[in-house]
Symmetry: C2
Subunit: 503 residues, 2 copies
């Protein structure tokens, strides 16, 4: 094990997770590695949670994105969190957030590093998973980079988790570039998905390293949810759209660099590309799932850039056993770079993200169930949607057995405004909103994306809004949330016989 | 006059505006210069409007931003517009947009050029105001650059308006850089407000120039609205905030590059800086008003970058008579560059923009009166707010003699989501939302920004929303627009005695 600490002065810092957790103090701001399930803290944050069981120990926790291994659950359950940012997916934490017990900052994933750089947050202790510590104290990251670079730079003290389950041959899979301080910043000179502009290691100040903890726990495996009828339908519409764009001369067979949110729709879309005529594909995304590695293996995809990988156990093993092969095809970057507005706009990305609900004008709610309750967070969807070449949002047209329409008169929470939404796709069809004004967008969305059960009522809402109120974006404000209110009152958005819309 | 056309082959193209307007055909997409009142088409679009009086001649019109000289009014009145983008401020056009007679695409000003580059819009005829045409057909812009570069590049035919009221000595005040096509794009290498990366002229294909029209009409003068009690109060709060940030070590006396929306608040804030201790200020904005030139003259400001200047007649004369002086202090750029996400984030800009209404969580409505009717457009506010170092939104706390509260339970239209809003300022005070979760944001906004008349009811709404509904962003959806409904029904958002909130 100790051969993974090349800077031998640090051998004396090796301790157990429990010992290392004594560094934490009540009220501290802790920064941790972890982006989705990749490269998260496996033992130190758990030890923090354990301490919080018996003593007053509450921290602000800043990560890359969500964590695996139920760490967020343990922290939330034991009251260890005052504030959490910028993303989470944990059921227990979610409950605590929505109950107001944990303050959650839902943040564009590309901006967290900026908020550390501009002084909004100062890290007291950083917890970073690494594969190896080099002679100069630099560290080799594991399966994600996340906000590690800026968290480590800002931290007063650093705890390293050395994960011996990760082969040291992973070195070379990362491109570590630190966004410069304001005033001396230059361009982030990435001009293609495979451009490397940085180092293969994270530079650290070794004197900040207060503890080193060994473990051999692999990332929690990603769920592979097979495509259902809705996701398969959505994938088909998107592939057809791409084919039509090639026909129209606005895309080539290489498409443009792809970004996909995580989940079954993303897997279905990328799976759809495997059996298409597109070729030499590339990705510039934030998380890589199995489907990316499958596209690489099948020869359809040349290169993929992201900040993290979250894959099944099978895929994980495949990658770890063939690191030399994948190192030429995959790069993991800090999320300030994977989600950089500058790079995204320059490369001209096709962004595919999931929405909870959309409205008739193309505004998107990605986060808030019934407008109030946090699901996961906006993640990187805003970084990509705002700056994409084509910004696509997908959702099944209905949910809860048809009791919820995912297309509503007005979204109950706005994450993405109509300005940032080019295409909406449901299994019903695809609405191409490019170059359309709001009243045109409404007709396109209602005609193409809405489930038949809700179509007539939604068109009626739009027509009455135009006739009775008018304006650039016609709405009848007192009815705008009537579907949500009905859902709350009756358990369904469906119109009950003889019910008025306002009821 | 003809000495302004150095490419003598083009002398034969000189004609009247009326003659040039014969080039337009029904259904065409026309691109025109003009950003606010600066450098707009003075005579050719008017001639187009005149033709539309008597014949079926409807076009899509794409400009930089709004136009002066009531050109938009003439076009709208005569039915010459099918579609208009990306911004407008005209009363007559606004009426036609809100009546559904003209389709309006309200667009981030930094993105219009992208939509031309990615094929969403193809320009048939471009109308560009210039100061001079050089030997190779290149042209010297006037008081704005706007979208001229990409409009001219996309156009099949070009009509030039040579404005002899603009001294040819204006050459050198512009920095013309064309964003490259996707696939071959490199960084936009601006690292300071005064970096120049392009040419001092716009390169044109002379064979596209079909008509040249002379005129000597100056830009319509900008309105100088003196600061009132509310704007003076807002300016004072912002200056105090800056002073506190310097004290806290997060800003220096040079601040960061400033961006100000147009209007009296912007003038008041910049005016406030004139009598402050800040120095060596710089601007990276989209429009320069009198206040910028005043700051330059008083020695407080070193440099200002924008896409346009819209100033009073006095200031206009001052600039035109001292071009050699101002050319070293001011640069006008394409709006794809002045409003580039890449440059804005790199420079770390303090963005100050105006809102129509804000809500308790810090979402901002910049555009839609009562959620439906377009005022002007989102303009560049989103380009700056999303990528700013500090994103500030300002509004008087009340409007219409107190019958409207500018802070409401939920904004009736979302232009900027809470993610992109750091600071809200009214004459009542300043809410610093950095690092706060939604429930914290609500308390900060209600306590600091709301007019006393509305404070108690708004806090009651928030507290009831927390207690009755809970969640990350507590709302009572069926009450969220109750203030707007009450305004519609009673002419005031004020609570009537014995009225329930739902009423």
């Amino acid at each position: 094990m100790l051969e993974r600490i090349k800077l031998t002065d640090l051998h004396s810092k090796v301790m157990t997770a429990e010992e290392s957790a004594k560094i934490f103090e009540n009220g501290m701001t802790v920064g941790s590695s972890g982006f989705t399930r990749g490269g998260d803290s496996k033992v130190v944050l758990k030890a923090l949670a354990e301490r919080a069981k018996t003593e007053e120990l509450k921290v602000t926790l800043i990560t890359g994105a969500s964590l695996g291994h139920d760490t967020d659950a343990a922290l939330a359950e034991n009251g260890a969190l005052t504030k959490r940012l910028p993303f989470q997916v944990d059921t227990t934490l979610r409950k605590n957030i929505n109950a107001g017990n944990v303050l959650f900052i839902d943040q564009h994933l590309g901006e967290t590093a900026e908020h550390i750089l501009n002084g909004q947050f100062k890290i007291d202790v950083a917890v970073i998973e690494v594969a190896e510590i080099l002679e100069d104290g630099s560290v080799v990251p594991t399966t994600s980079v996340g906000n590690n670079v800026d968290i480590a730079a800002s931290a007063d003290k650093i705890i390293l988790e050395v994960n011996t389950a990760i082969p040291t041959a992973i070195r070379g899979m990362h491109d570590i570039y630190k966004v410069e301080d304001y005033g001396s910043r230059t361009a982030i000179n990435i001009t293609a998905c495979d451009t490397k502009i940085g180092s293969d290691v994270i530079k650290l100040d070794p004197s900040k390293i207060e503890a080193i903890v060994f473990h051999d726990i692999t990332d929690m495996a990603g769920d592979i949810v097979p495509a259902d009828e809705a996701t398969a339908g959505i994938a088909k519409h998107i592939v057809t759209f791409f084919e039509n764009e090639v026909e129209a001369g606005r895309l080539t067979k290489e498409l443009m660099p792809l970004q996909c949110g995580i989940g079954k729709v993303a897997n279905a879309v990328l799976g759809g590309l495997e059996h298409s005529n597109f070729e030499n594909l590339v990705m510039y995304s934030e998380v890589l799932q199995d489907s990316t590695f499958d596209l690489i293996d099948s020869g359809k995809m040349d290169f993929a850039s992201a900040s993290s990988m979250t894959v099944s156990q099978e895929c994980y093993n495949r990658v770890m056993n063939n690191l030399d092969f994948y190192k030429d095809k995959v790069v993991l970057r800090p999320q300030a770079i994977s989600n950089s507005c500058e790079v995204i706009r320059r490369l001209g990305i096709i962004g595919i993200n999931t929405s909870l609900e959309c409205d008739i004008y193309g505004n998107v709610n990605s986060t808030h169930v019934t407008g109030t309750h946090m699901m996961n967070g906006i993640g990187g969807s805003g970084d990509f949607a705002r700056n994409a070449y084509i910004s696509i949002f997908v959702t099944a047209s209905i949910a809860k057995g048809g009791n919820i329409s995912s297309i509503v008169p007005m979204v109950s929470h706005h994450d993405h405004t109509e300005h940032d939404v080019d295409i909406i796709v449901t299994e019903q069809g695809l609405a191409d909103l490019r170059g359309l004004a709001p009243r045109e967008r409404a007709i396109e969305i209602i005609n193409n994306c809405v489930h038949p059960e809700y179509k007539e009522e939604l068109m009626s809402y739009f027509e009455r809004a135009c006739a009775e109120r008018g304006g650039q974006t016609p709405h009848i404000l007192e009815e705008a949330f009537s579907w949500h209110t009905r859902l709350k009152q009756t358990g369904s958005m469906k119109k009950v016989e003889a019910e008025t819309l306002v009821g």
